[in-house]
């Protein structure tokens, strides 16, 4: 396309937006509203995911050791633990440390510990962190069979329930997000189709006086670019305002829940929303035109 045509197309696109004021407003609003809903949902699902991962990371396996193992036996157990695929990290907790930890978690029962300290009943142990939380039961089984390990604990019931819960949440979130994405695409492209349909006569006339398809398409696609990017920019603003409000409200009532506020994620979401709006704005008008260009 030559410079002259580009300038002409740009001028036409701006003129058309102004002249079809109501239709332009409807299109921008549709983009803004649907993308805002989509963006907020993405943030919520991301948080759900983050929340689930957070919970999962807290899961660990405790391997309690038999009494009176030598240092080399302990090292051997550690090696055996680390040899297992799913085991990421192993921390040794001596019986003294275990007691101290316990004491700290029960400060109000100090008297009780005075007697226990004389003859510490807690065993040495390894705290085992895994790569894949789904593999916890199998890993625990493996650890149980290592010689020198007396007992294994990982809160079987809680872990299993938690895992099903996070799995379900993730699945539901993804499915819902996918559906909303489709609905957004459908709504926006349909609105654009309507604006193009309203101008089908104009398109036909342009063809009859000798305009090529691209000559007609450019202003429409630029219009789509403007409407798509403008609508998505407003929606990005709305998304973060609403997200901020939600966070403030939640922190007021349950302050300890971790939320995603890192800039990297916000930027990724903003950029994705922007390009999503831009792309369906542009392609939407391009595709809607096809039918009417055949004159």
């Amino acid at each position: 396309m030559k410079m002259h045509s580009l300038r002409y197309a740009l001028k036409q696109a701006l003129k058309n937006i102004k002249r079809n004021g109501l239709m332009s407003l409807i299109s921008v609003s549709t983009v803004t509203i649907t993308l805002s809903i989509l963006g907020i949902l993405i943030l919520l699902v991301s948080n759900l995911n983050f929340f689930a991962t957070n919970l999962e990371q807290k899961l660990e396996i405790s391997a309690f050791l038999a009494e009176g193992l030598s240092q080399s036996q302990q090292n051997q157990i550690e090696d055996q633990l680390l040899a297992f695929d799913n085991i990421q990290e192993v921390t040794f907790v001596s019986k003294e440390e275990a007691l101290k930890n316990l004491e700290e978690s029960m400060v109000d029962k100090k008297d009780l510990f005075d007697t226990i300290r004389e003859d510490n009943p807690l065993p040495d142990s390894f705290e085992v962190h895994v790569n894949e939380v789904e593999g916890i039961p199998a890993t625990a089984n493996y650890i149980k069979d290592i010689e020198g390990v007396q007992e294994v604990y990982y809160g079987q019931d809680i872990v299993e329930q938690l895992l099903t819960l996070t799995k379900t949440l993730r699945k539901a979130g993804t499915v819902f997000m996918g559906l909303l994405l489709l609905a957004t695409m459908f709504l926006i492209s349909n609105t654009i189709k309507l604006t193009v349909f309203a101008r089908r006569k104009e398109i036909e006339i342009m063809k009859l006086v000798g305009a090529t398809n691209w000559f007609i398409r450019w202003p429409f696609m630029l219009e789509g670019i403007f409407i798509g990017s403008f609508g998505s920019l407003i929606s990005i603003f709305i998304i973060f305002q609403i997200y901020r409000l939600i966070l403030v409200k939640i922190y007021q009532s349950i302050p300890f829940i971790p939320f995603l506020t890192n800039n990297h994620l916000m930027l990724t979401i903003s950029i994705s929303i922007f390009f999503f709006g831009l792309t369906i704005g542009t392609l939407g008008s391009g595709f809607s035109l096809r039918k009417f260009l055949d004159v």
Binding site: M206, V209, G210, A211, N213, F215
Partner: protein, 226 residues
């Protein structure tokens, strides 16, 4: 310039608008097409600029069979033909100036040149003062003159007009006919479908009479009496 061989046009609803007609119009000719309403005049005109295709037979314009165009070639083909539609077909959201300039924009004419030529034709049709009006703010005759201006602004070698004086008083009609005469003198072929028998008689040009979807008479020159 225009050749039609055994052309039949049957619309989708089954109506036969043209029934096996053959016509030949030479370069630089000035031809009227007359006939009662519904005879098939507009259909004949639409075949010339390829808004429609014949159901049977061949239509050759400028040596090219309109059935054999590639999609991409059609716009370039149409730029050589100035069309005045029976229903004007002005773009409602564009001003008079823009409706006319559009024909030049598609050929990437420089902006200055566009201005010059548009004001030139606006003067020819007497609409300079309405350049910035929208079509809906115009009278029927003014819309018609805008349509004429648009059709002739890029000096096409063929001008086809469907009832170009249908909405005009006799005086304006004669002025419009003078414009057609002028562009014909400059070398354009002109084909006009019309009802205005008195003006046609005055003009004393070749006249093709279409009746009942067939060509009834082809009068080389002189008065038409139907």
């Amino acid at each position: 310039m225009i050749k039609m061989f055994n052309v039949t046009k049957r619309y989708e609803n089954g109506i036969i608008a043209l029934d096996n007609i053959s016509v030949s119009i030479d370069k630089e000719e000035f031809v009227f097409i007359v006939g009662p309403s519904g005879a098939g005049k507009s259909t004949l005109i639409k075949l010339i600029y390829r808004e429609i295709l014949p159901t049977m037979g061949q239509v050759i314009i400028n040596g090219r069979n309109i059935n054999r165009f590639k999609k991409k070639e059609i716009p370039y083909f149409r730029r050589n033909i100035g069309v005045i539609f029976q229903d004007f077909r002005l773009i409602e959201t564009k001003t008079v100036f823009e409706n006319i300039s559009f024909t030049l924009e598609v050929t990437e004419t420089p902006t200055k040149e566009i201005k010059r030529r548009v004001y030139n034709v606006l003067e020819m049709v007497g609409l300079t003062h309405k350049a910035d009006a929208l079509p809906l703010q115009l009278s029927g005759g003014e819309q018609q003159r805008t349509a004429i201006a648009r059709a002739i602004v890029n000096n096409p070698s063929l001008v086809v007009a469907d009832e170009p004086t249908g909405n005009l008083d006799p005086k304006t009609s004669r002025q419009i006919m003078d414009i057609f005469k002028e562009i014909n003198m400059r070398g354009a072929t002109v084909v006009i479908a019309s009802h205005a028998l008195d003006i046609i008689n005055e003009m004393n040009k070749r006249t093709i009479v279409v009746e009942n979807h067939r060509i009834k008479k082809d009068i080389k020159k002189g008065a038409v009496c139907i």
